[in-house]
């Protein structure tokens, strides 16, 4: 039984980042990421960082500094949330297009306006087209462990794409839990040094970031897409390697909970999985055959796995802590529907948006949702999607 320590979620993640030995760290503070930035600063002050850290003047500067550092051949790390991630938007495309395997933690927080510091997934979901691998953690242990996995995946020669490890703001960042802190000795084996083929070197002067005109741009996009495809397998393999070496497993691209015989499948990402697990256990005692499809990797999207599970299900309830405004639904719902449709799988999908702006998601809300899903499974979908926890008395 490994030694556990009660630490704040932010500490566990900052510690994991430290253990991965990035050469350059830049983190600009934003609630609820701040404790990660502060932990890293304390590590630096106590001489515990193997690399350098820069107190940058903005998140855009943070990611830009990491792009420069990665071009030199450095392993790099940052963390941000919400507005900070949005501010990085331009640089997210740049890092991905230049194939720098930068890893950042996104401590998920709602987007302004209205200004709101609490958890939802609008920030990372809004960046889903930027060419970053997106992994969602269920709990603090997973968030910390995912950091090491993210480096291994990103730096894989067949991937070379940047990655964001998403953890729910406050819910995971500020909670105190017993965790096994990422082990330095195992990580030194698990994660070999970053060894890029090309880097800026006066002895071998290459030009990075040249103009890609219409005659070649498509092919570069294609190569990125291929890299994402390769990442599907790499994510699975890395999860298993991690388990072999550390003895902890969270699933690969997805994980399932009481899924094998589930009629009502609840698909979701992030910390809500914990609430769902408790709720599903209770529902099962009532004879409701529900199960959970935990999406770990949102990018690349695990189409094969989703299709396999959908085939055996009576209905899928897709839970989104985000909305793609103008479609009336959240991104996970849309992506599940799309991947089923293109495979001719007609399992009904009901989109439930909840938890926006940090609204607490209770077991009661989930239970009611599942009862209705059971009803829709028998009698057909009356609506496609809804704001499940809408307070109608305010409207």
């Amino acid at each position: 039984m490994k030694k556990m320590k009660v630490v704040e979620g932010a500490y566990a993640v900052a510690h994991a980042a430290k253990v991965c030995k990035p050469h350059v760290i830049c983190a600009y503070p934003i609630t609820p990421q701040t404790h990660i930035a502060e932990c890293l600063s304390q590590f630096k002050a106590d001489g515990e960082l193997t690399g350098e850290s820069i107190n940058v003047e903005s998140e855009f500067a943070a990611l830009s500094c990491l792009i420069g550092a990665s071009a030199i051949g450095a392993r790099t790390y940052s963390a941000t949330s919400s507005q900070g991630l949005a501010m990085m938007h331009e640089a997210l495309f740049n890092a991905s297009g230049m194939r720098f395997p930068i890893v950042i933690t996104v401590v998920n927080r709602a987007m302004s306006a209205p200004i709101n510091i609490w958890n939802d997934h609008q920030d990372s979901i809004s960046q889903r087209d930027t060419g970053w691998i997106q992994l969602y953690a269920e709990n603090v242990q997973e968030a910390a462990d995912m950091t090491a996995q993210a480096y291994k995946i990103a730096e894989n020669k067949n991937v070379l794409m940047p990655a964001m490890v998403c953890m729910d703001g406050f819910i995971l960042s500020h909670v105190f839990e017993p965790v096994v802190l990422l082990e330095q000795d195992i990580t030194d084996d698990f994660l070999p040094p970053y060894d890029p083929e090309y880097y800026l070197d006066p002895k071998n002067p290459m030009t990075f970031g040249a103009l890609g005109d219409p005659s070649v741009y498509t092919e570069y996009r294609y190569l990125q897409d291929k890299a994402m495809e390769n990442a599907l397998e790499v994510i699975e393999k890395t999860s298993m390697e991690f388990n072999d070496m550390y003895g902890r497993y969270y699933g690969g691209l997805i994980d399932g909970y009481r899924l094998d015989d589930a009629e009502i499948v609840i698909a979701a990402m992030g910390s809500i999985i914990g609430t769902l697990k408790d709720t599903v256990d209770e529902l099962r005692t009532e004879g409701i055959i529900a199960g959970i499809l935990k999406i770990r990797s949102f990018r690349p999207f695990p189409k094969k796995e989703v299709r396999r599970i959908a085939k055996g299900a009576g209905i899928i309830v897709a839970i989104d802590k985000n909305i793609s405004l103008g479609t009336g639904e959240g991104a996970l719902c849309t992506e599940i529907k799309a991947c089923l449709h293109s495979a001719g799988i007609d399992t009904p999908v009901f989109g439930s948006m909840l938890g926006h702006g940090g609204r607490d998601v209770s077991k009661e809300v989930i239970e009611k949702l599942v009862y209705r899903a059971g009803d829709m499974m028998k009698h057909g979908l009356k609506e496609e999607n809804e704001f499940t926890d809408l307070r109608r008395e305010l409207l």
Partner: protein
């Protein structure tokens, strides 16, 4: 030509592009008055004026005919002439 994974390019490769085809006028050097001050070499935007056997010469493969060398030569050694093609 196979692409690498990103737009990473080898150094100095613009030299396969002979910009000499751009020009209308070309520099003609009169070496009698030349004091070898090197100003023509200094201010050439293409960096293609160099000392060859003690004489300043423009590499006509790349010379765009901008005329800076002629304009700056303190001894008026250089004249821009219409290039016969």
């Amino acid at each position: 030509m196979k692409l690498s994974h990103a737009t990473i390019v080898s150094p100095g490769t613009t030299k396969i592009n002979r910009t000499g085809g751009w020009r209308t006028f070309m520099p003609q050097f009169n070496y009698e008055k030349c004091t070898k001050c090197g100003i023509c070499r200094t201010y050439c935007p293409e960096g293609i004026v160099s000392l060859v056997s003690e004489k300043y010469v423009a590499d006509l493969d790349y010379c765009k005919g901008c005329g800076i060398c002629a304009n700056e030569c303190p001894k008026n050694c250089i004249v821009m002439v219409l290039e016969a093609k």
